[in-house]
Symmetry: C2
Subunit: 275 residues, 2 copies
DNA sequence: TCCAAAATCCCAATATCTGAGATTTCGTGA
DNA sequence: TCACGAAATCTCAGATATTGGGATTTTGGA
């Protein structure tokens, strides 16, 4: 915990808040992080004033309102989510399934939008749930379309896990398998993330044709045959390409970033996609 | 922007990201905040490493994955949301309406969960949308149950707005109106937040009987008569009290904070409420 | 009302942050 | 593939802003 600058130290407080523990008293934090008392309180003051933390009436701190507001901002103004929603719904109409839109953040895959039409979803990936970085159709659909250099780096970083899945023994062999995914246009995985569930995924690109996200469909394995998987894969690919195209158009027109929204309902007024 | 300590300066970067502008290049930030270049980059590095910001491939920064993950944490482990969900659904079953669970953060009211059964919602308050602090049934349902001291302070801070609604001319008169709300047990507002929409709300308390949130139902004004409002008000009050009771029980038993969750679906396994 | 615990204040020492300028890296177009 | 310009990072001396022990105030509970 020493050797860090004060910025990192303040922000390290946020790391305390995990699934297992969402409430911390200052004394507990001090024990964990080893800050002097006035220092800790200074840090807490800054975080509270920024709204990232909030103090509970009884005793202790939790994550604050700013977190919820920022997520709202992202949901409401993220072109990827806005353009993706309709396609998620289109996919769930094809088949009882869960359809996910997953964003790639370099070191993390995070579900940013989801729709479900299966009566009893076998696995649940709501917004915010991190996905495994190196297994499953989603991961592969992105890795396969990375520029050579980045693809190699990513394979090396996750070599053990990729080997475990049986994708290949060394970097070159795995890269070849990924190139095959690229040629096919979509990735398929059988029970890699959740046993008994088939995942089919295709990448979404930004203007520079870099993959930034993945559109994915997850289906109970016993409902589905090889041919159907192929058909759905093409369908997913088509929807993903639509999203990429819409994003490109968004960026080309309104460079300002945000989209106007309806003051009454708060819902976003998307530019027409003029397909 | 000067005279602040470095913690505030780092966190002030987050304030740049608003509804109107979710993408900022370092140069734009520098122009806005006036930091020296290496300083800004140091700050950005810290925020990026914490995951609060992410750099877009093209150019610029946006809010990062950590925001989405933290909101997920809060959604998934917030006892208020977990206990409230079933009651929101119960309310939407009574009447075509939108039902909201709104948390009070001292200076902010923020929707944390919502359900809707109206075919065409007149106003939309999804999770994360801030609500006006001093108008509407939600606001009043909380103010009315505040300890005397806090109630007075809050009235004084928002005197102009409260006068504008016609709640009373001075602090004492408004306080009396709030005490009436307290006696009735729920607050009603006609078109204060959204024209033509009736809001009915009752407070949720923590273990110390401090109001921490409000359970609210919003209904199209023309669908509803005085008697029905009274009936629904009592219903909402009952559901809100159930939530308060469940929260008290949660706190009394598992002091650890988090609840266990199902590794397969990621959904939370609530303790039984043993009603 | 009082009491104990929690939170804040004070201030000297100095470790840490700042920022100009040099340098490297990166993205882009030829 | 190379070279160009812009963007990002590094270096380092100076000085300011941060740190933390201890005193003090505030808070909230009995």
């Amino acid at each position: 915990m020493s050797g860090l600058n004060s910025l990192d130290k303040v922000l390290s407080i946020l790391d305390l808040f995990t699934e297992d523990r969402l409430e911390w008293t200052p004394e507990q934090m001090r024990r964990e992080l080893g800050f002097a008392r006035p220092t800790l309180y200074r840090y807490l003051k800054a975080l509270r004033e920024a709204g990232l933390l909030t103090s509970l009436p009884g005793a202790g701190f939790t994550l604050g309102p700013r977190v919820v507001e920022m997520d709202f901002l992202m949901r409401k103004s993220d072109a990827l989510v806005l353009r993706g929603q309709a396609r998620l719904e289109a996919l769930t109409a094809l088949e009882p399934c869960a359809a996910l839109l997953v964003r790639w953040y370099g070191q993390r895959l995070l579900c940013v939008a989801a729709e479900c039409s299966a009566p009893d979803p076998l696995s649940s990936y709501p917004r915010g749930r991190p996905m495994p970085l190196a297994r499953g159709a989603i991961s592969r659909s992105i890795m396969a379309f990375l520029p050579r250099r980045q693809m190699t780096a990513m394979i090396e970083q996750n070599l053990d896990e990729l080997r475990g899945i049986g994708l290949g023994a060394d970097v070159e062999e795995i890269a070849e398998r990924l190139r095959a995914v690229r040629r096919r246009g979509h990735a398929v995985a059988h029970g890699e993330v959740t046993p008994g569930v088939v995942g089919i995924a295709a990448p979404v690109f930004d203007a520079a044709r870099t993959p930034i996200a993945s559109l994915c469909m997850t289906i109970a394995g016993n409902r589905i045959t090889g041919d159907r998987i192929e058909t759905l894969g093409r369908e997913i690919r088509a929807r993903a390409d639509e999203i990429s195209a819409a994003l490109g158009r968004d960026r080309a027109s309104g460079e300002s970033g945000g989209c106007p929204n309806d003051p009454a309902t708060g819902r976003h007024l998307l530019q027409p996609e003029d397909t």
